[in-house]
């Protein structure tokens, strides 16, 4: 028997790590990975809550999240490639043409 809240805390940790990664990582791809990490964290909560409520809807939701994540990944990486083409860099700190 494991308290569901443990799962939730774990998911929270993952989410927090994702946020932290977004904040501190310089490489765009890594930043994107941190977003995926956040999504994973969310998924865990979904599954945990599904177990709590005995509602499969939660698991289905996870399924949709994965689809979305896949789509985002495709688009996001394409965008990253486009950026790399124009700026020849993956360092997010150097992608700041648009400011003020």
């Amino acid at each position: 028997m494991v308290p569901i809240s443990y799962y939730l805390v774990l998911s929270g940790i993952l989410f927090a790590c994702g946020v932290c990664g977004f904040l501190i990582k310089r490489n765009i791809i890594t930043i994107f990975m941190s977003i995926e990490l956040m999504l994973n964290g969310v998924n865990l909560s979904f599954v945990a809550f599904a177990a709590h409520w005995h509602q499969l809807a939660g698991q289905v939701f996870v399924f949709f999240v994965m689809v979305v994540a896949a789509a985002e990944a495709a688009v996001g990486l394409a965008i990253i490639i486009a950026v790399y083409r124009t700026r020849e860099t993956l360092n997010v700190d150097q992608v700041n043409l648009l400011k003020l």
């Binding site: 909560s45 999240v65 789509a71």
Partner: protein, 510 residues
């Protein structure tokens, strides 16, 4: 047995398809455009496909009208067709239509791949329409993603431009970041209520026991949605993205996805009756208005300036959300809806002019490029002036009445200070719109700025938006009544007709 019954009713009827007819039509036309793209030769692909897309939107509008005949729940309470959803569906599709019309020559000039462009617009509209009509967080999430992802892509359409891809990147990364927050919020909400269906959630919440989870969930969802509608403090991406994105796209994404997101926000705030939201909305509204206006004061890039102004307008709109007591909700909702419509009309128009004027390679987007525009092309200048006046909130324009209505609703709810902040802001905001008018009319052009002749499509688009702006300003009655009526639809049903409210599972193992 019961399961079978459940499945029986779960199987969609034909009426269910009627209730998503506009979405269907749009997707069909989107696919059609995609398919035709390779077949039409590069030269005139833009216009052909564009017109197909335009026809698609028109058809969708008609089908919306047809759909309106049979309101109700569809696909086992995934979407609900009521005047609220119809209002927003109609709005976003109309915006798409105007944007498509106004972006022909831009496509031609930018040599943008028309097929994907129009298809993406159509598909994104599908997503927005679903956002407007969905009553299931899953559906809302998917719709949100559809609209967002396609706007990410659209933002990066001028691939050879560093600025464009950068704006696309920023929009994408921050967008997904926010989406993650929203999603976490949904998860917590699911955890707090055991359902992802808005009706059930609201009933659950009204029936009392509101755990802290729900509050946390609300916070998270507000972060996500707040980002989408660009309200402070989550507005920060707007200026960069708008500056970099192609002008017509900005016109599109500053209105349509916002409208849809506001629809969702309305549902979340009022249908769910989100607890403890008041001060957040109050502060966010005040902050957005102020930051937006202040930030815009010294902008010299028109697109960026309008970006800031859109933040400010989101702020005004948010004032309508901060209704305190349920008897004010209807007023607030209808005010917000009307404002969304008015804002869409004027902003699309404004960006249409800007994008036309910016012409090749978005070269002329700075204030000094607008000097003497009134002399070189008076009609264009007059058009832009009308939109700007509407943005200022000068009478006989929709912008004026929208603001007026929002603030009167706010005062109805005794939000005196918020109203004062709002009106003062709208006065200050007048300044930077006025700057554009000033340079157009009161300065003589120093450098030669070529202005293409206005094409038929653009002319139509502008005419439509002007008419809409003035119509909303002079005869707002019809739209107001629709808005007020749909506000009634949105208000949460009393918990009496409670569907099965999920209970937590027995914690013991089996």
């Amino acid at each position: 047995m019961t399961l079978l019954l459940a499945q029986m009713q779960a199987i969609p009827q034909s009426v269910d398809y009627v209730r998503i007819l506009p979405e269907l039509v749009l997707s069909l036309f989107g696919i059609l455009v995609m398919v035709l793209d390779p077949l039409v030769d590069e030269g005139k692909s833009q216009k052909t496909l564009g017109y197909i897309g335009f026809i698609g939107t028109i058809t969708a509008l008609l089908s919306t009208w047809y759909m309106a005949q049979s309101p109700g729940i569809a696909f086992s309470s995934i979407v609900r067709v009521d005047s609220f959803s119809i209002f927003f569906t109609f709005l976003v599709i109309a915006i798409a239509a105007v944007v498509i019309l106004s972006s022909f020559e831009y496509m031609a000039v930018q040599r943008i791949r028309a097929g994907e462009y129009y298809a993406l617009i159509l598909f994104s509209v599908v997503g927005m329409a679903l956002m407007a009509s969905a009553v299931e967080l899953v559906m809302i999430f998917i719709g949100l993603e559809i609209s967002s992802i396609s706007t990410y892509i659209l933002a990066g359409f001028r691939r050879h431009e560093a600025s464009s891809s950068e704006s696309s990147l920023k929009y994408f990364l921050l967008g997904s970041f926010a989406t993650a927050f929203f999603l976490y919020g949904v998860a917590l909400m699911f955890g707090g209520t055991g359902s992802t269906n808005i009706d059930i959630i609201s009933q659950k919440l009204q029936s009392g026991n509101v755990g802290l989870l729900v509050y946390a969930a609300m916070a998270m969802m507000f972060v996500g949605l707040g980002f989408k509608v660009a309200i402070a403090p989550f507005h920060i991406w707007t200026p960069d993205v708008y500056e970099g994105a192609p002008a017509p796209v900005v016109g599109f994404m500053s209105t349509a996805p916002k409208a849809a997101a506001f629809a969702v926000l309305l549902r979340v705030v009022f249908a769910i009756n989100a607890p403890g939201r008041f001060w957040f909305l109050w502060v966010a509204a005040a902050l957005s208005m102020t930051l937006g206006n202040i930030g815009a004061l010294v902008q010299s890039n028109v697109k960026r300036l309008l970006a800031y102004s859109s933040i400010a307008h989101a702020g005004y709109l948010l004032v309508a959300f901060a209704m305190t007591t349920p008897e004010n909700w209807a007023a607030g909702i209808s005010a917000a809806m009307f404002y969304t419509a008015a804002y869409a009309a004027m902003n699309v128009g404004a960006f249409a002019v800007v994008s036309h004027f910016a012409n090749s390679g978005e070269r002329y987007v700075n204030l000094e490029d607008y000097e003497g525009l009134a002399r070189s092309s008076p009609l264009l200048a007059a058009t832009l002036t009308i939109f700007l006046l509407s943005l200022i909130g000068i009478p006989i324009t929709g912008g004026f009445f929208a603001k007026f209505y929002v603030f009167s609703a706010a005062l109805r709810a005794n939000l005196v200070w918020l109203t004062l902040i709002g009106v003062v802001n709208s006065a200050i905001g007048a300044y930077y719109y006025l700057r554009i008018i000033v340079v157009m009319y009161m300065r003589e052009s120093r450098k030669e700025v070529p202005v293409n002749p206005v094409s038929f499509g653009l002319a139509t688009a502008l005419a439509v938006s002007i008419l809409a702006t003035l119509y909303l300003g002079i005869l707002p009655n019809r739209i107001l009544q629709v808005a007020q009526h749909s506000a009634q639809d949105l208000l949460p049903q009393p918990p009496a007709a409670a569907a099965q409210i999920p209970q937590p599972a027995p914690t013991s193992a089996h």
